[in-house]
Every structure is written in C-alpha cells, then in structure tokens.
Amino acid sequence: MTINPTEPYVHELGITQSIVDIAEQTASEQNAQKVLSVTVEIGDLSGVIADAVEFCFEACIQGTRLADSKLVIKRIPGHARCNDCGTEMEIDNMTFSCSTCGSYSLQRTRGEELNIKEVEIE
C-alpha cells in the first residue's frame, strides 16, 4: 500500500502499527505461531478514528503472525461530569458545555481510551 503523507490516516497507521507490534511481541513470548484476534478499545474522544484503524490493520498485518487475524474494536462513547452542577452526560468531541447548566467546565470521565486489551493466539 502506498501512503500519501497528506492523508489523515497516517496517524492511525502509527497507532495500528503499535497494535500489531504489541500483539506480535506477545505471540512471540508465548511461542505462538498465529494470532487469531486482537481486541482493542478506542474511545470516541481519543482523536483516533476507529474505521481508519480497521483500514490500516489490513495493511499492517501482511507477513506477520497476525496475517489472518481479526481485529475487534470496542468503541467507548464519551462521558463527562460537570464541575459546576455535577451532571453526568454523554458527550462527543464537539461538546463544549454542560447540557444542564451550560457550564464550560466539563471533566471527561470516559472516551479517551486507546488500549490494546487482549490477543487470542494459537
């Protein structure tokens, strides 16, 4: 795959490469020949586009122990708590203010996750 450096996916490519590297390393430590699946957690507020990771994954796994593996992405919706009135709410990247009192002081509580959770090996 040729990658156009101006394409936004390049960021996800780096993230995807770390997914593949960590899974490969784990397989190697466990003396496993094959990785069957990799489970990752991607928060909606993480700045990483889950679809793009999926796209890059296909390219990154060529010639590795992950070659036929499945990528399982668990998306985590954004959540925040208002520092002023305490309201808990679901938010996206464009949410600036509390849905109850309008305060701009929101504490993000979930949705910034960017983790590899588990690999299934054989």
Partner: protein
C-alpha cells in the same frame, strides 16, 4: 547509544518454539495503552529538560500558519536575551531548518517521512545535537497538522497552537483535540485582517469554549504588531523555569 528507548539493541526474538506441538487457542490479556511507549519516552525527555531548567515549547498548526516565520522573528529579536535551540519537524525538506540556521541559532532537522507528527523518540535523539545546559528555550516546530501532534507528548512544557487569519475562525471548533491540548493559541497574520472576513472575536469564543484556560495572542509576524506581548510572556515562562532551581 539510546538508554531510554533501547533502540540500538537488535530486536530480541525467541525462535526456539516447538513446531510439532499444537496448542489450542488461548486468550492473553494485555491491557496496555497504545501510547504508553511514547508517554514513557516523553517523561524521560521532560526530566532531562527540567534538569537543564530549559523551557520547551511544542509549536503546532496547520501547514503554512507561520510557525517558522514566528520562530525567525522571535529568535532574531530575543537573540541578546535568551539562548535558543530549535528542532524542526518536517515530512521532507530542510528548508525550515535552513531559515532558522540563518538566524544563528542551533537547529536540528527531523524528517518524519510518511509520519505526520513528531514523537518523543525522535525528539529524545534530536536534542542530542544541542548543549541543553546552555539553552534557555527549546522550540520544537511540529509537522504542519492539527490532528496527530495533539496525541503525542514530546516532553514539552507547553503546546502553542498557531492559527492564521487566512484559515477559518472555526478551526478551534473543528479541531478541538488540538486546542484542548494546547495552553497557548497564537492568531497570526493580523496584518491581513482588513482584507479578510476572519472574525477574530468568534475565533476567540470558539477557542475558549473548547479550552477555557487558553492564553491567546493576536499578532503579525509581518508588521510586528502584538509580538511584544508574546515576548513578555516568553520571558515570564523562562523566569519560572529558572526560579525552580
């Protein structure tokens, strides 16, 4: 030799697996942040920087907002007051590094190739070219891109997001991740305002909505208007670094 990242060591693969044996599938739980390695290297950078009492700024923006021009101006105008070092991140050329070198400041170019951002590993090696003990301010010009550099900590003290009046005033709302990660926003090219319909008040409102703690400067590298406030802020930041000793 790289102590923090161990990158000089060849990759150690264990190849004596038992090929005859066939295990059933098993699931290994990992629980690792995908940015953990970068964050670890960034923390190591930060420690080195703080030992050197050096102020480190990470300049981020879309391509062409004026980061290099701002650095050229700042370095020439404050030459007598502070000693600078500059890391230039670019996908290809060394053009920006050449422009900085012309000001007389030590500069090192990092070409990221296909990579759209600098990472802590590149920066850790990049600063090997400088005498950190002799440097008051390290400026890192990141690759022109408002998405990825937000996620990659380099070990800097502060991120400075540069926005120019030729871009839309809604940039902070469109790229909230970056403007939330930054402590400072510079609105550059104010000399062009009379020719544009850029609404500077709206821009401030958007920016403060995503990040109420943002410090905002309006300036023009062309006319020099507004640079004094930026310089005064820089001097104050350097002051807080030196006081910690």
């Amino acid at each position: 030799m790289c102590i923090d990242c161990g990158c000089a060591q060849p990759h150690d693969h264990n190849h004596d697996h038992d090929h005859g044996h066939h295990d059933d599938a098993k699931t290994i739980s990992i629980e690792q942040n995908l940015l953990a390695k970068n964050d670890m290297l960034a923390a190591a950078n930060r420690e080195r920087f703080s030992e050197a009492n050096m102020l480190v700024l990470n300049l981020v923006s879309s391509p062409g907002s004026g980061k290099t021009t701002l650095l050229e101006k700042t370095l020439s105008d404050l030459k007598g007051e502070f000693s600078f070092a500059v890391l230039e991140g670019d996908q290809q050329t060394a053009n920006d590094a050449d422009r900085i070198a012309a000001t007389g400041a030590p500069v090192h170019q990092i070409n990221t190739g296909a990579g759209c951002h600098l990472d802590a590993h590149m920066v850790g090696h990049g600063v090997e070219h400088f005498d950190l003990g002799q440097t008051d301010i390290l400026m890192i010009e990141n690759v022109g891109n408002l998405v990825c550099p937000a996620s990659f900590d380099l070990g800097e003290d502060l991120k400075v997001a540069v926005l120019s009046t030729t871009e839309g005033e809604d940039k902070p709302a469109k790229y909230p991740h970056m403007f939330r990660a930054a402590e400072v926003m510079i609105i550059n090219k104010t000399d062009l305002l009379p020719h544009l319909d850029f609404d500077i008040e709206k821009c401030r409102r958007y920016a403060l909505a995503v990040n109420p703690d943002l410090t905002i400067f309006e300036l023009s590298c062309r006319s020099g208007e507004g640079l004094d406030a930026w310089y005064a802020w820089l001097a104050k930041q350097v002051g807080t670094k030196k006081k910690v000793i």
